[in-house]
Amino acid sequence: MKNRTHISVENLNVYYGDNQVLKNVTIAIPDKTITAIIGPSGCGKTTLLRCFNRLIDTVDGIKVTGKVLVDGDDIFDPQQDVTAIRKKMGLLSQRPFPLPMSIYENVAYGPRIHGTRKKNELDVIVEKYLKMANIWDEVKDRLHEPASSLSIGQQQRLCLARGLAVEPEIILADEPTSALDPVSSRNIEERFMELKNRYTIVMVTHILRQAKRLADYVVFVYLGELIEHGPSKEIFENPKEQITKEYIKGIIS
């Protein structure tokens, strides 16, 4: 895998205090597809995802060695402008966290920070991304109501719109459907399928069927080690490692 991708990781080690949770991870995440990070609970999936946009920095006592390259730049280089890195990536968390402001303001928040001030431009942006997240019809008459008044499923789509509004190239998602009901989950999954041709999507999931349905590329992490990665079909139908086989069959979880 020599061709340069948006995100690639070289010899990444992450320690929480003395506890090493990622061990020498090296991988290139393919562009413009959905990559699923799978693995049992506590194996370091979230940690890996949070390295990509350096949210990991906000944790006490963290130590990171190795490189995460985003568009060729080592993002852990102290010279890097961390806000510019984060702007390249939208983030969906396990539970949606809308900002404490109106629906409209939530989507306008990012663009405003990055310099779009004019009301009519913001109006266009807000509508565009709410539509892209397939929530426009539900909220177009109540744009100035608090975002917290939406249902959880709607909030997650609003968070997607908020992330898309800063025009990222990458979408990071950490178990984005685990707090949602089946219909809302379906809705998010459909959004991902629509967006995958334009964005590089990396999602953590512990639902194997979801990974099978959505992902083109699968990364299997076990106890902090990257065991195996490859096209979804290969991993699910013909895994090379015994441990991957067992995980996929549900023998270990």
Partner: protein
């Protein structure tokens, strides 16, 4: 538990009852619309508008000063220092100690600062002393609400490329606005009712004064002076003044509740 609650409620009612029963007969329009006329403390005409105005100015000034210093401190403790920070713990303990320091100490300390600055007993002096008194209370109250802001919310802001400053002022402050408002009003209430801290620092005057550098009257001292006279009708006015002070504090806590529900609507749980 029920008994304790009953005793507490009963004492509260007793206090309010005393103030109302003793003060109401002396309460008149003059009380709240006029400054003392000559011989007021001997039963002459006039009112305590001087003290009402003075106390409001003093408490408002001190609240603004404490807010300007206090909000950044509370935010610093939580957002810039990490959760396990030793420094933050030390500062919190120090603030808790300061909350418990009797107000006369702040009065004395304020007085010392005034001497050093060459300020005489005045509204400004009072504002310095009362700010010192209410700042720790206000900071700890804001600290408690900022501490409750979910970390994910801060991350959500970071993840669209906001820096720490933008996150603090656009997200954290908005999320905690109701708590900040109640903390400020809590400080205001504590400041307006305190006598010891203003004893040496504000002086007292029968005029209605708006000047920072002139002495001002305050309600607690007005109550103190009126109670100190031997005349029953003037003592009654002390209760009426206490009643007025209580009403101000009541209005304050009601408006706090109103503002909290009004600005709380965007809060994310």
């Amino acid at each position: 538990m029920l008994l304790s609650t009953a005793i507490v409620m009963f004492s509260l009612l007793l206090i309010l009852g005393t103030i109302v029963v003793k003060g109401l007969p002396a309460l008149s329009l003059d009380m709240i619309t006029k400054a003392p006329e000559s011989g007021y403390y001997l039963g002459g005409g006039g009112g305590i508008l001087n003290a009402i105005v003075g106390s409001l100015l003093l408490a408002a000034g001190a609240s603004v000063v404490s807010m300007i210093f206090g909000i950044p401190v509370a935010l610093y403790l939580n957002i810039y220092l990490t959760r396990k920070s030793k420094l933050a713990e030390v500062i919190r303990v120090a603030l808790d100690v300061m909350c418990g320091v009797p107000s006369i100490v702040y009065g004395a300390f304020g007085f010392a600062i005034m001497l050093y600055l060459g300020v005489r007993a005045s509204l400004l002096g009072g504002i310095i002393a009362v700010s010192l008194l209410i700042m720790p209370v206000m900071i700890r109250a804001i600290d408690e609400v900022v501490r409750l802001v979910p970390h994910e919310l801060i991350e959500a802001s970071y993840s669209v490329g906001a820096n720490r400053f933008e996150t603090v002022f656009k997200v954290v402050v908005r999320q905690t606005l109701p708590g900040i408002i109640s903390a400020v009003l809590l400080g205001f209430g504590r400041g307006i009712g305190d006598a010891a801290s203003v004893l040496f620092t504000t002086g007292f005057t029968d005029r209605i004064s708006f000047s920072l550098l002139e002495p001002v009257a305050t309600l607690p001292l007005a109550i103190f002076f009126q109670l100190g006279t031997p005349l029953p009708e003037v003592q009654q006015r002390a209760y009426a003044s206490a009643f007025i002070l209580t009403v101000i504090i009541l209005v304050l806590s009601l408006s706090a509740r109103f503002l909290v529900s009004r600005y709380g609507r965007h809060m994310v749980k």
